[in-house]
């Protein structure tokens, strides 16, 4: 933290007054050469001109190391960017017509790009028919080696539910196939899903039949599993076509089929 503060302080000092930073570097390096000049004169007895030449040679060039110091502090890139911006603004001010056309073209391109992406996104993914559907996200593990989705156990789900605090609610589901016995005695395979109790809370929709599962962990109590046994019902389309949306027509046969 202290290192970050120091870095920000040094960077800000150089950014706020770049001329001062350069002047300070210049002073410091000239001081170094001056001190080295005096030392060479003391040790070798050469005149001041020769001593200064040797000192400058030993130093290696003020401008070179001033540039290296600017690079170290990150000012070279900032100054380059600042120069580009200044040149760009100057050019745009010189040609206001071109500026207007450029701004209009950019606005049009960005707007149409966003609209197109929104359209494609809606077309490809659609929207879930639930309230606040844009706040519902799916979590799917993916096996990178096989390129296939990877199933997770209930223990993983319970672990996620305990550790993911950025979600209001977390539910799980899995697809399943069952044989459905219709009121007229026919049996046909149907595909459905098993969901955890939170799925109803996430969907925020009342069930067409029966009641929803409870969010409280009643299954851990003795005998509670029977009282809060998962209910299930047919999908809306199946219910409409097969039973003409009659509550009477989808009672016991459906439940038996689900438990099969």
């Amino acid at each position: 933290m202290r290192g970050l503060l120091s870095r920000v302080r040094v960077f800000w000092r150089g950014l706020a007054d770049p001329g001062r930073l350069d002047a300070d570097m210049d002073d410091e390096m000239r001081f170094h050469i001056e001190m080295e000049t005096q030392r060479i004169m003391r040790v070798t007895g050469v005149d001041v001109g020769e001593a200064r030449r040797q000192a400058a040679l030993a130093f290696g060039g003020i401008e070179k190391y001033r540039g290296a110091a600017r690079d170290v502090l990150g000012f070279t890139r900032i100054r380059g960017l600042s120069l580009d911006l200044r040149l760009g603004v100057r050019m745009l001010r010189r040609s206001p017509g071109l500026t207007l056309v450029a701004v209009f073209a950019l606005a049009l391109a960005i707007g149409s790009g966003v609209a197109y992406l929104e359209f494609v996104n809606d077309l490809l993914h659609g929207r879930l028919p639930f309230p606040q559907a844009d706040r519902i996200v799916g979590i799917q593990n993916w096996d990178q080696q096989t390129g296939q989705p990877e199933s997770r156990s209930t223990a993983d789900f319970v672990g996620w539910r305990g550790s993911l605090h950025s979600f209001d609610s977390l539910g799980a589901y899995r697809a399943l196939d069952r044989n459905l016995i219709t009121p007229d005695g026919r049996a046909e395979p149907v595909r459905g899903v098993e969901v955890s109790a939170a799925a109803f809370h996430i969907a925020q929709l009342p069930p067409l039949l029966g009641r929803t599962l409870e969010l409280t962990p009643t299954r851990t109590r003795r005998g509670a599993g029977r009282r809060s046994a998962p209910r299930c019902g047919p999908a809306t389309k199946r219910w409409s076509v097969g039973w003409r949306q009659s509550p009477e027509s989808s009672r016991s046969p459906t439940r038996r089929a689900c438990r099969a």
Partner: protein, 113 residues
């Protein structure tokens, strides 16, 4: 005086930290102190000292302030920060381990293996 050797990459920062750990110094005095504590055995390009000093300052390992030198000239003085002291300790320990390992490796003989 022994023959000068080239500085290994990364060792200049360590030498600067060590020098300023012995007292507040301006840039030129850092160079003299390095020459003094290494007995002049290491060859340092003098100008290269300054980018290293600015880098260490921007990392918060050393701090600086302007003052007056021994010959009444305006000079920038550097001193070690607590973070720099900690880094110096870690780097010195790491360097000593490496030096011991290299020394042991170079002393090895076929009979001793």
């Amino acid at each position: 005086m022994s023959k000068s050797a080239d500085l290994l990459p990364g060792t200049l920062d360590l030498l600067i930290l060590k020098s300023v750990s012995l007292g507040k110094l301006h840039g030129y005095a850092v160079l003299l102190r390095i020459e003094q504590i290494t007995d002049g055995a290491l060859q340092i390009q003098q100008g290269a000292l300054y980018p290293a000093l600015y880098r260490l300052e921007s990392q918060g390992l050393i701090d600086s302030e302007w003052g007056t030198s021994e010959n009444n000239r305006r000079a920038k003085f550097y001193r070690l920060t607590p973070a720099g002291r900690q880094r110096l300790k870690e780097e010195a320990s790491s360097w000593n381990r490496l030096a011991d390992a290299m020394s042991a490796a170079l002393r090895a003989t076929a009979e001793g293996l």
